[in-house]
Amino acid sequence: MNIFQAIIYSFSTPIFYKLMLLSATPLIFAALGGVFSEVTGVTNIALEGIMKISAFSAVVFTFYTGNPWIGLIGALISGLIFAWLHAYVSIRWSADQIVSATALILIASGLSAFLMEPIFGQSGQSDFVSKIPKLKMDFLKDVPFIGQIFDELSIFVYLAFIAVALSWFLIYKTPLGLRMRAVGENPKSADTLGVNVFRIRYFGVLMSGILAALGGAYLSIGELGQFQENMPSGKGFIALAAMILGNWNPVGAMWAALLFGASDALNIQLQSILDIPSEMKALLNLLPFVITIIVVSGFVGKTRAPAADGIPYEKE
């Protein structure tokens, strides 16, 4: 089969769409997190670190309690702590947000690797723990194509799309959302109108922690049932690209995440279909990253970040 036929064939299989949804889910969560933070004017490139520490915490809490739901709570708490650290120094102390986030990525990476040995007795990867159960759609079983996509999917997949709808509603249809956008565009005039800039920004950053933590928890206790040291492997950064491509809008971010999910699915599919040497298959791993670069540089001219994004606000 040549590469063109293989691509066409991939698109016509239900497994491709299933893989796309599975790959897109963590990206959707993290990209939504990015939207919440940046809409209020705080950049958060620490999403990768938050995903990593929460994926790790999810497994640790599940390991000790045997209950993946408690694992999920552990993930959310660690995500909130990391997001709070970022919020505290960048809002209260006007720290450089990119530098602070870089530090948090390092700390998350160091902490999860450091604790592996004391907890699991080995580095690299953890023991297997129980997973959050998947949702079985028995009534769809006999529907061709659709049935094979949706027969058994993680609850996180559905939760991701619900989160998109709720985020869109919150940001564009509620007074809180209006305040968030005002703070991100022009904190000074928002402040003059009596909006508490600091409190809104804290809300945005903490929400990004919760959402990125959901993405991280999905990776470990949603899909794999294990933590691996290289776990988010760039997904936090691809999520940032999805956020930019989606023009800082939850729905746009979702479409972008689906696009990246599709490129990931295509990579997996092509590796299994194509009859080429294994080192060439390894080269296909480049695909999602190359697509990200092309997309970010091709479309970014048409998008616009919130005006005060990344700029600390200081009361005079």
Partner: protein, 344 residues
Amino acid sequence: MSILVPVTSVIIALLIAAVVILLIGKNPLNAYWVMLKGAFGGKAAWAANISKMMPLVLTGLAVGFGFRAGIFNIGAEGQLMMGAIFATFVGINLGNVSPIVAIPITMLAGILGGAFWASIAGYLKAATGAHEVITTIMLNWIAVYLTNYFVVGPLAVGQGVPKSPEIAQSAQLPPLMTVQANTLPSGIIVSIVAAILVYILLDKTTTGYEIKAVGYNPYASEAGAISLKKNIVLTMAISGALAGLAGAMEVMAVHHRIFGDFSGGKGFDGISIALIGQNNPIGIIFAAFLISSLRTGSNAMQFAKVPDDIVTIIQGIIIFLVAADRIVRTLLAKMAISKGGETK
């Protein structure tokens, strides 16, 4: 004051890490003592330490140089690997030429490899506004996969760990000194010279003045007839050239080949080093020495059953405090006041 902030940050980070070590039931005093001995206890420790320091000075300079122009080059990791690939390609294909020709050519190949890789991000930023943080991170991943491809594909040689053949003898930099299994690479001289050159470029030339002006206030510079786009691409290229040189040095002076996972985070360490050294080339030399000491020492710490990942945590906390330098400044100011109060 400017040196007090990083120094205080390092002390606070070591204290917090001590608590983390206590939490896993180990003695932090013992761990730090082993670490100190591992980094400075004897000639072999010093050789290992300086050997680790050599590429870190260069990746620190790469990131720091970008910072001075207001560009966040997070891609030193990928640029280092591309530099190493280019240097290896040229190094293994050199026939019987004298070292006087082979060494500069191989070094130049590494410099060009890094500069080329960084220029992609620089060009995209200048042409389309694509944020360099995203593009350089993607380029890092692409460089990782490319390196893996080369060592299992076109450059693969021998059994076991995927690796390339050794570069020609004439392209290898002779060590200054050999202590047991450790060598003191002469590449450290190249690193120090590069730091001095970057210092001269930034502080004594017009190009350096323009680069700093763009970093300080891009809009005013544009009004002052400094081309923003030209400077973005140029800064990225120079920044990448430094990281590429780091890769070439690793190939020419230490490993003599590339293999999978070649960099092992030295490009990311460059970010820490640039921040601790406050983007000053001379400060970066000292910051690189700090990080190489921590890393060399942490290898020894594993004998005390403390995972060496503690260094990554320490580095993270230092950077976090450097980012939040106002917290540290406020803390220092309070200490100064209370001290002043006592003497009165």
